[in-house]
Symmetry: C2
Subunit: 224 residues, 2 copies
DNA sequence: TCAAAAGTGTGTGCTGGATCACAGTTTGCC
DNA sequence: GGCAAACTGTGATCCAGCACACACTTTTGA
C-alpha cells in the first residue's frame, strides 16, 4: 500500500488539480489508488474499460489507435504530469483506442463516477478540465492541418517541436518507428529525414532518443 | 427586431439546449440576438473576436483554417442546428481560424460571459456542452486516422459518409474544391474519384451537390 | 444580356514516399 | 557470454496523387 502522501504528490503533479490545497488533494487521493506497472502493460483497451481517468506520475504512456486494417496510429506519448482518459467522461467510447506503458510507470487512477462527482462539485477543477480539453482540441486541430498539407520533412519537424514543447524540453525519447506512426510515415522515411536534420545540425541522434539542437531553425523549416 | 418566439425556436434547434423548457429558453434568448447574414460574410476571424458562440439556425457556415503559407483547410461545414465557437469559451485562441457563411444564413450569437454564466449555473447544459466537445474530439480523432493512412478514394468516401451523417442525409451541398480542402487533396483528384464513384452507382453528381445513393457500399469501400 | 467567374472534366508529366530487401549495430535476456 | 530481438542505415523500384494546361458548362451580376 502506498502512502497517502505519495498519492497526494501524484495528483499534485497533474495540472488539473494544481490549484487545490494539500487537504483537498488528500480527500481526492483517498479515491485514487496508485498503480505501479511494468513496461508494455495495456492500461486501456476497447474491451476492458472500468476505471477511466489516469494520471501519469512516472514513465511514458503511449496512446494509440488501431485501424480496422491493423494500422497503428500513435495519438500521443504521455510523460509524467499528464492526464488521460477524459473521453470516457465525455460519454464517448473510443472505439479502437488503446493506452499502453512504454516504460515501467506509476499511475493514479480514478473511476468515472468519482470524476464526475468532483467535476460537478468543484468549479476550479471543472474549469481546468475544460481548459485541458481545449488544449487537446487545439493540438489536434494543428495536427490535422499538418497532416493535411505538409510534406514529410515538415511534418517531422513539426512533430519534434510539438513533442519538445517548442524546444523547451531538449530530449525526445522515441524510436523512429514510433515517430513514424505519429506523422503517418513509414520508418525508413523518418530515418532519412532525421539524418538530413542531423547533417544540418538541427538535431543529434542516439538510439531511441532525439536531441533538439536548434528549435528556431527547426521551426523556420517547419513553415516552408 | 426579431420576435422572441423565433429566437426561442432558434435555440431550440440547437442540441445543447434541447432539454430546457420553453420558459428557460426564453430567458437565454433575451441574451442571444439573432443575425441575418448574406452569403460569404466572415463571422469569425483571428482579428475580430468579441462575440464567440454561434448557433446556426439556417444556411451553411464554413469553418476553415488558413495555414501560414495560405493553404486553406476546411475544418467543417455547419448546417442548421449546430453550434460553434466553443473553443473561445475554453480559453483557446484559435490562431488562423475563420468562420464564413457559404449561403445566406440566420444565426444566434452569445457572448463569452453569458455562456460562461449559463454553463456554470446549469448542470444540464454544461453536461451537454461536454458531450458536444467529446463528439467533436472523437470526430477529429477519426479524421486524423483517416488522414494518416488512407488513400484518397477512401478518404473521400469517408468524408462523404461523415458529412451525410452515415447516409441519413442524402444530399451534400459542396463543391469538389471544398471537399478537396477537407481531405487534403487537390480539386482534380476529387473530381476523378467522384466520377469513379458515380460510374459505380455509389453517388449522383450535380453542380455543387453530391447525392449519396449507396451508403452501405460506400462504407464497405471506406474500410478497404 | 452578355462578360466574367465559378464549377467541372480530362490528359501529361513528375516526384514524394511507400515497399521491399538487405546489412550493421545496440540492447536485453536466458 | 552469446543469441535474439529491437533499432538504425541505405539503396532500388514503383505508383498515387500533385501541378499544370486547357476545354467546356453553368451561374452570377453589372
Amino acid at each position: 500500500m502506498i502512502s497517502l502522501t505519495s498519492r497526494v504528490q501524484c495528483l499534485n503533479a497533474v495540472e488539473i488539480f494544481c490549484d487545490l490545497s494539500v487537504e483537498e488533494l488528500a480527500v481526492i487521493s483517498k479515491r485514487a489508488p496508485v498503480r505501479h506497472l511494468d513496461s508494455k502493460t495495456i492500461i486501456y483497451s476497447p474491451e476492458q474499460l472500468g476505471e477511466v481517468l489516469f494520471m501519469v506520475n512516472e514513465g511514458q504512456v503511449q496512446i494509440y489507435h488501431l485501424a480496422p486494417d491493423g494500422q497503428m496510429i500513435t495519438v500521443a506519448i504521455l510523460e509524467s504530469g499528464t492526464l488521460f482518459g477524459e473521453m470516457a467522461i465525455l460519454g464517448q467510447s473510443l472505439y479502437g483506442n488503446y493506452a499502453q506503458t512504454m516504460t515501467p510507470a506509476i499511475l493514479c487512477t480514478m473511476s468515472v463516477e468519482d470524476v464526475k462527482n468532483i467535476l460537478l462539485t468543484d468549479l476550479r477543477i471543472s474549469n481546468r478540465f475544460l481548459e485541458a480539453l481545449g488544449k487537446r482540441l487545439l493540438a489536434m486541430q494543428q495536427h490535422v492541418s499538418i497532416l493535411t498539407f505538409k510534406l514529410m520533412p515538415q511534418r517531422v519537424a513539426s512533430l519534434l517541436l510539438q513533442m519538445s514543447d517548442s524546444g523547451r524540453i531538449r530530449e525526445i525519447r522515441c524510436t523512429h518507428e514510433t515517430l513514424a506512426t505519429m506523422v503517418g510515415a513509414n520508418r525508413e522515411t523518418v530515418t532519412k529525414i532525421l539524418n538530413e536534420f542531423r547533417t544540418q545540425n538541427l538535431i543529434e541522434q542516439y538510439r531511441g532518443r532525439v536531441v533538439i539542437l536548434d528549435p528556431t531553425r527547426l521551426a523556420a523549416f517547419e513553415n516552408s
